[in-house]
């Protein structure tokens, strides 16, 4: 194939630079703001240069947001709980869809896709009632229960395609040889589908991490259960905002997920795009 000329390379790299600037500017600016003293931030017009950058905000934020550690823990705890619960519901269902034929199989799969298109924002009032009926408002469950529901549909589709890749012959041979279904599940399915389970688990974790705002501000008023986003927004509303510390806290809050994602992005992207691209 033909190589790029120098001019073409220059043009493509410049275009990539503009594209990346759009994508990364908010993060770069958040990081820069977190390093600058507050009085440098509050200068108008905007100053591009600060001569005394420091990580001071990263120390001070723990005093300004006293429960920051708790918020970070909550975010993790909520996302992990949602991911684990989602897997528990999704594994048997996805296996069933991948292996068995039964009435309403395809129509129910499409209904799952359709459910995926409903956002939590439309269903807040009745959801509120459901949670109140079960006495779950203002608790971790208030955010976990709806979170799981909206992740189940995609997760079933994702995991189903993983199970389908495991050759059915293996299971049939074991079954004919007298293995029970539980044995098949333990000795054949479980080991072979571990990569798929990890991808779906991570997908659910990141999904749960990203959706920690709407349910959190609507169903939970208690500070001790708040995840990072709603915890931080408490500080944006009604007092003079210490932007540098807010930015520092946000970045510290999202760093673990970003690192996790960077290590696993190849698998996640492959898993997510496989279905759409093949279809």
């Amino acid at each position: 194939m033909d190589k790029y000329t120098f001019l073409e390379k220059f043009f493509i790299y410049s275009a990539i630079f503009i594209f990346m600037t759009f994508i990364l500017l908010p993060f770069v600016e958040m990081f820069y703001a977190s390093l600058r003293p507050l009085d440098h931030l509050f200068r108008s017009p905007y100053q591009f240069y600060s001569d005394d950058l420091s990580f001071w905000a990263y120390r001070e934020m723990w005093n300004t947001v006293p429960m920051l550690g708790r918020y970070i823990f909550n975010s993790f705890f909520l996302a992990s709980s949602v991911a684990i619960l989602t897997l528990l519901f999704v594994i048997p269902a996805a296996y069933s869809y991948a292996r068995f034929n039964f009435p309403f199989k395809n129509s129910s799969l499409y209904i799952l896709l359709a459910i995926n298109m409903f956002s939590g924002a439309v269903l807040l009032i009745p959801l509120y009632k459901v949670l109140r009926t079960f006495g779950l408002l203002n608790s971790y469950q208030a955010m976990i229960v709806p979170g799981v529901a909206f992740l189940i549909p995609t997760s079933i589709w994702l995991l189903k395609s993983y199970f389908e890749k495991i050759p059915v012959d293996l299971e049939e041979a074991a079954f004919v040889d007298g293995a029970s279904r539980v044995q098949i599940l333990r000795h054949i399915i479980a080991p072979l589908s571990t990569p798929g389970l990890v991808v779906v688990g991570i997908y659910a974790f990141i999904g749960a991490y990203a959706q920690q705002f709407l349910f959190a501000i609507t169903f939970n008023q208690k500070k001790e259960y708040m995840p990072i986003p709603s915890g931080l927004y408490e500080f944006i509303g009604y007092q003079s905002v210490k932007w540098n510390e807010m930015m520092a806290a946000s970045l510290v809050g999202i760093a673990p997920v970003l690192i996790l994602f960077i290590f696993l992005q190849k698998y996640i992207v492959e898993g997510l795009t496989a279905g759409a691209v093949k279809n």
């Binding site: 905007y46 129910s108 459910i115 924002a121 009745p126 459901v130 795009t273």
Partner: protein, 300 residues
Amino acid sequence: MMNKKLRSFNSPTFLAYALIAPAAIYILLIVAWPVLETIRLSFTNSSLAGEDYVGFENYEKMLSSKKFNKIVTRTFVWMFFSVSLKLFVGLIGAILLNANLRGRSMFRVLIMPPWVVPIAIGMLGWLWLYNGYFGIIAGVGMHTGILDGPFGFLAYKQSAFISTIVADVWVGTPMVTVFFLAAMQGVPKDLYEAAYCDGASRWDRFFKITLPQITPVIITMSILSAIWTFNSFEIIWILTEGGPRGATTTLIIDTYKQALGNYKFGRGAARAVVVMILLTLFAGFYLALLARINKKISHG
């Protein structure tokens, strides 16, 4: 004997349903029931004070109000610009990152953050960028003389409308780019090699091979992003809460404001029903299309 055993292995209807039951019941309780309850509420005047059946009153009031009609129009205009921009920027991004150049795998990872990071955190960054006095965008405007003073991008009707679209495009573009990229890489290499041997230029190869080959994915992504954009709540809510003076109030925002801002559950529910009807239309369109594409593939 063996065949019989195998058949019972492959079609145990009871077991199949039993395995699906937990997930199905969960979704029925947390999604399906709330949908039905929303429909019921939309025929009542439910509020904190209690509820009475009022028939179609909520719908009549809603549909005859000029404000509501404006909101619907605004929602579609907002959606149109946001979706078109996501597809356009996403396609350009995919083309760029598909170029066989050094560093492309790094760039492919670097475009992900807006997608992976909680929207609320990303919006904190945008709030700061859009700040009229201290934000970098107004700053660049003032330094270059385009702006003659501080300019709060979220404080004026038109600029707030555009600013929320830009932030929404920012959140949605990475995913579109990633899907387009995956589609481009799925195009069989020999197509390109044959075209190259026939002397087709790079432009020709893009418009005659790449674009037709990825059209199904482009169509799928346009419908999916239309649905997601229509559902977009957090971005607008955090940036403007639907303001200034309603300039960024879309259907979803209006639904939320009626229900949880004014505690008019009945009126909110009527709006939610309109949202659900529109979503069902989108979803039906999407599923019909998906079925058609699948049929085409299975028929070769």
